[in-house]
Protein backbone atom coordinates (compact mmCIF):
# COMPACT_ATOMS: atom_id res chain seq x y z
CA UNK A 1 0.00 0.00 0.00
CA UNK A 2 1.39 3.35 -0.91
CA UNK A 3 1.46 6.46 1.18
CA UNK A 4 -1.44 8.89 0.93
CA UNK A 5 -1.23 11.85 -1.41
CA UNK A 6 -0.85 15.25 0.12
CA UNK A 7 -3.49 17.50 -1.34
CA UNK A 8 -3.79 21.21 -0.65
CA UNK A 9 -6.71 23.32 -1.84
CA UNK A 10 -6.91 27.06 -2.21
CA UNK A 11 -10.28 28.50 -3.12
CA UNK A 12 -10.98 31.98 -4.33
CA UNK A 13 -14.11 33.22 -6.07
CA UNK A 14 -15.25 29.77 -7.12
CA UNK A 15 -11.88 28.67 -8.46
CA UNK A 16 -10.05 26.02 -6.50
CA UNK A 17 -6.34 25.52 -7.03
CA UNK A 18 -5.35 21.95 -6.32
CA UNK A 19 -1.77 21.08 -5.37
CA UNK A 20 -0.93 17.41 -5.09
CA UNK A 21 2.16 15.60 -3.92
CA UNK A 22 2.14 11.88 -4.62
CA UNK A 23 4.48 9.40 -3.09
CA UNK A 24 6.04 7.28 -5.81
CA UNK A 25 9.49 6.12 -6.89
CA UNK A 26 8.94 6.99 -10.60
CA UNK A 27 11.80 4.86 -11.98
CA UNK A 28 12.52 6.13 -15.47
CA UNK A 29 13.59 2.76 -16.87
CA UNK A 30 16.82 4.43 -18.03
CA UNK A 31 18.84 4.34 -14.84
CA UNK A 32 21.38 1.62 -14.03
CA UNK A 33 21.39 0.15 -10.53
CA UNK A 34 24.42 -0.81 -8.43
CA UNK A 35 24.63 -4.15 -10.23
CA UNK A 36 25.00 -2.41 -13.60
CA UNK A 37 21.61 -3.61 -14.78
CA UNK A 38 18.91 -1.25 -15.90
CA UNK A 39 16.35 -0.63 -13.18
CA UNK A 40 13.00 -1.45 -14.79
CA UNK A 41 10.46 1.25 -15.48
CA UNK A 42 8.13 1.81 -12.53
CA UNK A 43 5.96 4.84 -12.94
CA UNK A 44 2.52 6.27 -12.46
CA UNK A 45 0.76 5.91 -15.81
CA UNK A 46 -2.70 7.26 -15.25
CA UNK A 47 -3.94 10.08 -13.10
CA UNK A 48 -7.47 11.34 -12.87
CA UNK A 49 -9.21 14.05 -10.91
CA UNK A 50 -12.92 14.32 -10.23
CA UNK A 51 -15.15 17.06 -8.86
CA UNK A 52 -18.19 15.55 -7.11
CA UNK A 53 -17.64 12.36 -9.06
CA UNK A 54 -17.38 14.05 -12.47
CA UNK A 55 -14.03 13.69 -14.22
CA UNK A 56 -12.39 17.08 -14.71
CA UNK A 57 -8.88 16.01 -15.66
CA UNK A 58 -7.08 12.88 -16.76
CA UNK A 59 -3.39 12.50 -17.39
CA UNK A 60 -0.98 9.96 -18.84
CA UNK A 61 2.51 10.04 -17.47
CA UNK A 62 5.79 8.54 -18.57
CA UNK A 63 8.98 7.90 -16.64
CA UNK A 64 10.00 11.52 -17.24
CA UNK A 65 7.94 12.79 -14.33
CA UNK A 66 10.05 13.35 -11.23
CA UNK A 67 10.09 11.10 -8.19
CA UNK A 68 7.29 11.90 -5.73
CA UNK A 69 5.33 13.78 -8.40
CA UNK A 70 3.93 17.22 -7.89
CA UNK A 71 0.90 18.38 -9.81
CA UNK A 72 -1.02 21.62 -9.79
CA UNK A 73 -4.21 22.53 -11.60
CA UNK A 74 -7.27 24.68 -10.99
CA UNK A 75 -10.96 23.79 -11.13
CA UNK A 76 -13.63 26.33 -11.96
CA UNK A 77 -17.13 26.57 -10.49
CA UNK A 78 -16.40 25.06 -7.10
CA UNK A 79 -18.26 25.79 -3.89
CA UNK A 80 -17.67 24.88 -0.24
CA UNK A 81 -18.53 21.25 0.43
CA UNK A 82 -17.55 20.06 -3.04
CA UNK A 83 -15.57 16.87 -3.14
CA UNK A 84 -12.34 16.68 -5.14
CA UNK A 85 -10.87 13.26 -5.59
CA UNK A 86 -7.59 12.14 -7.15
CA UNK A 87 -6.57 8.71 -8.34
CA UNK A 88 -3.33 7.38 -9.72
CA UNK A 89 -2.42 3.99 -11.12
CA UNK A 90 1.08 2.73 -11.88
CA UNK A 91 2.45 0.22 -14.37
CA UNK A 92 2.52 -2.50 -11.69
CA UNK A 93 -1.21 -2.12 -11.16
CA UNK A 94 -0.95 -0.33 -7.82
CA UNK A 95 -3.32 2.53 -7.33
CA UNK A 96 -4.37 5.04 -4.77
CA UNK A 97 -7.33 7.40 -4.38
CA UNK A 98 -7.54 10.34 -2.00
CA UNK A 99 -10.32 12.81 -1.43
CA UNK A 100 -10.60 16.33 -0.06
CA UNK A 101 -13.49 18.68 0.59
CA UNK A 102 -13.48 22.27 -0.65
CA UNK A 103 -13.80 24.63 2.29
Amino acid sequence: MSDPMRIRLQSQAGVTTVKVLMSHEMESGQRKGDDGKIVPLWNIQDVSATLNGKVVMTAEWGGGISKNPFLQFAVKGTKPGDKISLTWRDNRGDSRTDEVIVS
Binding site: S28, K32, E60, G62, K76, G77
Partner: protein
Protein backbone atom coordinates in the same frame (compact mmCIF):
# COMPACT_ATOMS: atom_id res chain seq x y z
CA UNK B 1 3.28 -41.81 -17.18
CA UNK B 2 1.33 -39.93 -14.61
CA UNK B 3 4.22 -37.54 -14.33
CA UNK B 4 4.17 -36.48 -17.95
CA UNK B 5 0.43 -35.92 -17.80
CA UNK B 6 1.00 -33.69 -14.82
CA UNK B 7 3.68 -31.81 -16.73
CA UNK B 8 1.40 -31.22 -19.66
CA UNK B 9 -1.26 -29.93 -17.33
CA UNK B 10 1.20 -27.65 -15.62
CA UNK B 11 2.48 -26.29 -18.89
CA UNK B 12 -0.94 -25.65 -20.30
CA UNK B 13 -1.96 -23.75 -17.19
CA UNK B 14 1.16 -21.68 -17.49
CA UNK B 15 0.38 -21.04 -21.14
CA UNK B 16 -3.15 -19.99 -20.31
CA UNK B 17 -1.87 -17.61 -17.64
CA UNK B 18 0.64 -16.17 -20.07
CA UNK B 19 -2.00 -15.68 -22.71
CA UNK B 20 -4.29 -13.96 -20.25
CA UNK B 21 -1.46 -11.69 -19.20
CA UNK B 22 -0.73 -10.72 -22.80
CA UNK B 23 -4.39 -10.02 -23.38
CA UNK B 24 -4.73 -7.76 -20.34
CA UNK B 25 -1.49 -6.05 -21.25
CA UNK B 26 -2.77 -5.32 -24.74
CA UNK B 27 -5.85 -3.79 -23.24
CA UNK B 28 -3.79 -1.57 -21.01
CA UNK B 29 -1.58 -0.43 -23.85
CA UNK B 30 -4.67 0.61 -25.68
CA UNK B 31 -5.84 2.88 -22.88
CA UNK B 32 -2.36 4.17 -22.19
CA UNK B 33 -0.71 5.52 -25.33
CA UNK B 34 2.41 3.42 -25.03
CA UNK B 35 3.57 4.12 -28.58
CA UNK B 36 3.65 7.84 -27.80
CA UNK B 37 5.89 7.14 -24.82
CA UNK B 38 8.08 4.95 -27.04
CA UNK B 39 8.65 7.77 -29.54
CA UNK B 40 12.26 8.94 -29.56
CA UNK B 41 11.84 12.12 -31.58
CA UNK B 42 9.34 14.95 -31.65
CA UNK B 43 8.34 14.02 -35.20
CA UNK B 44 7.55 10.43 -34.17
CA UNK B 45 5.70 11.70 -31.15
CA UNK B 46 3.50 14.03 -33.16
CA UNK B 47 2.77 11.22 -35.57
CA UNK B 48 1.80 8.74 -32.86
CA UNK B 49 -0.47 11.27 -31.18
CA UNK B 50 -1.93 12.38 -34.50
CA UNK B 51 -1.14 16.04 -33.93
CA UNK B 52 -1.70 18.33 -36.89
CA UNK B 53 1.26 20.54 -37.78
CA UNK B 54 1.87 22.41 -34.55
CA UNK B 55 2.43 26.17 -34.81
CA UNK B 56 4.42 28.22 -32.37
CA UNK B 57 2.19 30.58 -30.43
CA UNK B 58 2.96 33.59 -28.26
CA UNK B 59 -0.29 32.92 -26.41
CA UNK B 60 1.35 30.03 -24.61
CA UNK B 61 3.35 30.97 -21.55
CA UNK B 62 5.87 28.56 -20.14
CA UNK B 63 7.33 28.93 -16.73
CA UNK B 64 10.54 27.01 -16.13
CA UNK B 65 13.77 27.81 -14.35
CA UNK B 66 16.50 29.10 -16.66
CA UNK B 67 19.08 26.96 -14.95
CA UNK B 68 18.35 23.76 -13.08
CA UNK B 69 21.08 22.52 -10.79
CA UNK B 70 19.44 19.14 -10.48
CA UNK B 71 17.84 17.72 -13.60
CA UNK B 72 15.93 15.13 -11.58
CA UNK B 73 13.38 17.66 -10.38
CA UNK B 74 12.56 20.60 -12.61
CA UNK B 75 9.30 22.43 -12.09
CA UNK B 76 7.56 23.10 -15.40
CA UNK B 77 4.38 25.07 -15.86
CA UNK B 78 2.33 26.01 -18.88
CA UNK B 79 -0.63 28.26 -19.33
CA UNK B 80 -2.35 29.83 -22.31
CA UNK B 81 -4.81 32.52 -23.31
CA UNK B 82 -5.99 30.35 -26.21
CA UNK B 83 -9.63 29.37 -25.77
CA UNK B 84 -10.96 25.81 -25.55
CA UNK B 85 -7.77 23.97 -24.81
CA UNK B 86 -8.45 20.29 -24.33
CA UNK B 87 -4.99 18.85 -23.96
CA UNK B 88 -1.52 19.72 -22.81
CA UNK B 89 1.41 17.63 -23.96
CA UNK B 90 4.62 18.17 -22.05
CA UNK B 91 7.85 17.27 -23.81
CA UNK B 92 11.52 17.44 -22.86
CA UNK B 93 13.13 17.36 -26.27
CA UNK B 94 16.47 15.76 -25.45
CA UNK B 95 15.31 13.13 -22.97
CA UNK B 96 15.64 9.47 -24.00
CA UNK B 97 11.83 9.46 -23.78
CA UNK B 98 10.83 12.98 -24.85
CA UNK B 99 7.15 12.68 -23.90
CA UNK B 100 6.76 13.43 -20.21
CA UNK B 101 3.04 13.77 -19.74
CA UNK B 102 -0.32 14.26 -21.40
CA UNK B 103 -3.05 16.15 -19.56
CA UNK B 104 -6.62 15.99 -20.80
CA UNK B 105 -8.55 19.00 -19.57
CA UNK B 106 -12.31 19.33 -19.26
CA UNK B 107 -14.15 22.63 -19.56
CA UNK B 108 -14.16 22.87 -15.77
CA UNK B 109 -10.43 23.37 -15.65
CA UNK B 110 -8.33 26.52 -15.96
CA UNK B 111 -5.73 26.10 -18.72
CA UNK B 112 -2.77 26.09 -16.33
CA UNK B 113 -0.87 22.97 -15.34
CA UNK B 114 2.25 22.65 -13.25
CA UNK B 115 4.29 19.47 -12.84
CA UNK B 116 7.86 18.40 -12.18
CA UNK B 117 9.89 16.70 -14.86
CA UNK B 118 13.27 15.02 -15.20
CA UNK B 119 15.81 16.52 -17.59
CA UNK B 120 18.61 14.21 -18.74
CA UNK B 121 20.56 17.20 -20.05
CA UNK B 122 20.12 20.80 -21.12
CA UNK B 123 17.08 20.76 -23.35
CA UNK B 124 14.09 22.65 -24.65
CA UNK B 125 10.90 22.15 -22.74
CA UNK B 126 7.99 22.16 -25.17
CA UNK B 127 4.33 22.40 -24.26
CA UNK B 128 1.87 21.48 -27.00
CA UNK B 129 -1.67 22.73 -26.58
CA UNK B 130 -4.38 20.93 -28.48
CA UNK B 131 -7.61 22.87 -28.88
CA UNK B 132 -11.14 21.54 -29.11
CA UNK B 133 -11.10 22.08 -32.90
CA UNK B 134 -7.97 19.94 -33.26
CA UNK B 135 -5.50 22.74 -33.91
CA UNK B 136 -2.20 22.40 -32.09
CA UNK B 137 0.04 25.21 -30.88
CA UNK B 138 3.21 25.08 -28.89
CA UNK B 139 5.52 27.15 -26.78
CA UNK B 140 9.05 26.26 -25.76
CA UNK B 141 11.78 27.33 -23.45
CA UNK B 142 15.29 26.10 -22.78
CA UNK B 143 16.32 24.78 -19.40
CA UNK B 144 20.07 24.56 -18.72
CA UNK B 145 20.87 21.54 -16.63
CA UNK B 146 24.09 21.23 -14.72
CA UNK B 147 23.40 17.71 -13.39
CA UNK B 148 21.34 15.20 -15.39
CA UNK B 149 18.19 13.57 -14.10
CA UNK B 150 18.33 10.12 -15.64
CA UNK B 151 21.92 8.99 -15.96
CA UNK B 152 23.58 5.70 -15.10
Amino acid sequence: MNNSRRNVLKKSTAMAALLLQTLTQCERVYAYQQNAFDAKTIADLNKSLGLNLPLESSQITINTPEIAENGAVVQVAATTTLANIRRWIFVVEKNPVPLVAIFNLSEDLLPSITARAKFAQTSDFIAFAQLADGRVFYGKREVKVTLGGCGG
